[in-house]
């Protein structure tokens, strides 16, 4: 669907729904917020021009129901749907349904989503674009014998990964040849149950790695990257803190990774905002393509703060047919930004979710502090959805100032009534290794003990 947008349906909730509504408002676009019954009295629902209840609280009956969302877009005459992140944002079938019904999906084409959603297909695209991928199988392994052959070629330990997977399910680390058969069987079984597809591929297992990702914007013709984000502070593959620039990239490595992400996106004629994720092996200095996320990401504000580019507005502009006016040489980063995800979780008890009522909310403020949050005093954190309450993003002229500012901001935030991860972040920000910029993806587990 061509032509500038007029009314955008926001098919999400929480802070990202508010983020999209804010972008629409700044562009002069009308907004329709769809919501479940649990979110009727939420800030994004009240912030939108129009709010439409689409179903019961459980996501499957509301935010994950493509017919309810596209139906709402048609009934309330929205000409576009912004999916946010999570929920239906990377479901090719949903993008397809939007297209069928004449609704602009704010994101890449369904075909690109499908291609990048399949890890093996995505690896093939990466290889074709000359992007390094982790040494491992070309695609899914046919059987134990093939898996063993590849494992011996690349050397143990190896990682077994579900082709359709994510979030650690269908994943196994194999350190010895004799364990391969058993663990392959387990991984295939888990993948079949979790994703309906038992396909497993094998790759080198790297231990001292950082998670580096490149933000891209494409309009189907031009593609630019907006530098990297370092998301190495994770717990069980869940990102907790993200920053830009990475404390470990030098100018040359930064250029090479950035150019590889652009090459990958050119390969598929990428349209909209996207993120190419890499692992950086700190032992060898090599980087490898991991996957591509064909949507806006939770941590996108980090890039916005160092570049000044509003990524969500660009998503909407591109969806409305505008061409990218940004050129690679015009994109400069300034200073350093860090994001802490404040979740309603008890970090002292395995980061267990803690829904409840936020009695009193006060955002941190002052220089260099951005807060993306749907919190307000008296609001409910329902038990049905993810536990992200607020993203605090701090900018500084350098990493040291950004970290000092984040400590200051986390000392200010008031979120009474629910347990939050603020204390975890304050502990992290005092840790000498983190302050020195030295950590890998196992830091939270191995060093902090979570």
């Amino acid at each position: 669907m061509a032509g500038p947008l007029r009314r955008v349906l926001v098919a999400n909730r929480g802070e990202i729904a508010l983020r999209v509504i804010r972008a629409c408002r700044e562009l002069g676009l009308e907004t329709v917020a769809v919501h479940s019954e649990a979110d009727s009295d939420s800030l994004p629902v009240r912030a939108a021009d129009q709010a439409v209840c689409i179903g019961h609280a459980p996501s499957a009956k509301s935010y994950l129901d493509p017919r309810a969302i596209v139906g709402a877009a048609l009934a309330y005459r929205a000409d576009a749907i912004h999916p946010g992140y999570g929920f239906l944002s990377e479901k090719a079938a949903f993008a397809e349904l939007c297209a069928e019904q004449g609704i602009t999906f704010v994101g890449p084409d369904a075909g690109v989503i499908a291609q990048m959603g399949d890890k093996i297909a995505a690896r093939r695209v990466a290889k074709a674009a000359g992007v390094p991928t982790t040494p491992g199988s070309e695609g899914a392994v046919a059987d134990r014998a093939q898996a063993l052959k590849i494992a011996l070629e690349i050397g143990f330990p190896v990682l077994l990964k579900a082709a359709a997977g994510g979030g650690g399910r269908g994943m196994r680390i194999v350190t010895r040849a004799e364990d391969l058969e058993r663990l392959l069987g387990e991984a295939m079984g888990e993948a079949a149950v979790a994703f309906g597809d038992p396909a497993i591929y094998v790759e080198r297992y790297l231990t001292n790695v950082r998670h580096i990702e490149i933000q891209v914007l494409g309009d189907g013709e031009h593609v630019v990257h907006l530098g990297e984000r370092d998301c190495s502070v994770q717990r069980r593959n869940q990102k907790l803190v993200e920053e830009a620039p990475s404390p470990v990239l030098d100018a040359e490595l930064r250029r090479r990774i950035g150019e590889s992400a652009v090459a990958l996106c050119r390969q598929v004629g990428y349209k909209s905002a996207g993120t190419v994720e890499y692992i950086l092996d700190q032992n060898s200095g090599e980087f490898y393509f991991m996957e591509m996320n064909t949507r806006i990401q939770v941590e996108h504000p980090v890039t916005e703060m160092v570049t000044g580019v509003d990524l969500v507005k660009w998503q909407l502009r591109i969806a409305g047919g505008e061409k990218l006016s940004l050129r690679q040489e015009g994109i400069r980063t300034h200073g350093h930004a860090i994001e802490c995800r404040i979740n309603a979780e008890d970090h002292e008890h395995g980061f267990a979710p803690c829904p409840g009522r936020v009695a009193d909310y006060l955002a941190p403020g002052g220089p260099g502090v951005r807060v993306d949050s749907h919190m307000e005093s008296g609001c409910e954190v329902p038990p049905y959805y993810d536990s992200l309450l607020a993203k605090v993003i701090c900018w500084g002229e350098n990493r040291e100032e950004a970290v000092a500012r984040m400590r200051r901001a986390l000392g200010e935030i008031r979120l009474e009534g629910v347990k939050t991860t603020v204390a975890f972040h304050r502990q992290l920000l005092e840790h000498a290794e983190f302050c020195a910029g030295r950590c890998n993806t196992r830091f939270v587990h191995d060093v902090l003990g979570y």
Partner: protein
């Protein structure tokens, strides 16, 4: 700030509890000046209108899940679905949208409306249609009585849980 108040979500959770407990037929809760009463029967036994209650059981086709009403929560604004569902007088039965879509009063453009205000209906009477992506779902009265109000104009969009038609059940 943290003094407990009964919110819409609390009410929803209570109702979900009641709904999931098959043996519960009547339920009432008094909390401060809010009183919640729910009466329900096994759908297999046919629908029966709720007694005068702040929360009448929903009355929609047996094949779509009920959309329980909630007393107006201490909401900050009244633009939401639940708020629109409020305001059904005691003794009346609200027919609510089981899905988001477009409301039609007649089977085709130019055809006679299914019902008019004042008209008698039986539980099987089709009272309106909701269209989603060209798929038409006809909505039955679910109760015998007469049409008291039609709250949505023809071809208007409706959200999930929105009150479409109010029926005064036969005594």
């Amino acid at each position: 700030m943290s003094e407990p108040k009964l919110t819409q979500k609390d009410v929803q959770e209570i109702l979900d509890l009641v709904e999931s407990a098959a043996h519960v037929v009547d339920f009432s809760l008094k909390y401060g000046d809010v009183e919640v009463r729910v009466s329900r029967r096994d759908p297999a036994e046919g629908m029966q209108p709720a007694a005068a209650s702040a929360v009448p059981a929903s009355t929609v086709r047996p094949d779509v899940p009920a959309v329980p009403d909630a007393p107006a929560a201490p909401a900050k604004t009244a633009t939401t679905g639940a708020a629109k569902a409020a305001g059904v007088p005691p003794g009346m039965v609200a027919i609510k949208a089981p899905m988001v879509g477009t409301f039609y009063r007649a089977s085709a453009p130019g055809a006679a409306p299914f019902v008019e205000v004042g008209q008698k209906v039986t539980p099987d009477s089709v009272v309106c249609i909701i269209e989603v992506m060209k798929l038409m779902s006809s909505i039955s009265a679910g109760v015998a009585g007469s049409v008291k109000e039609i709250r949505v104009a023809d071809s208007e969009p409706v959200q999930f849980g929105q009150v479409l038609i109010v029926i005064e059940p036969d005594a």
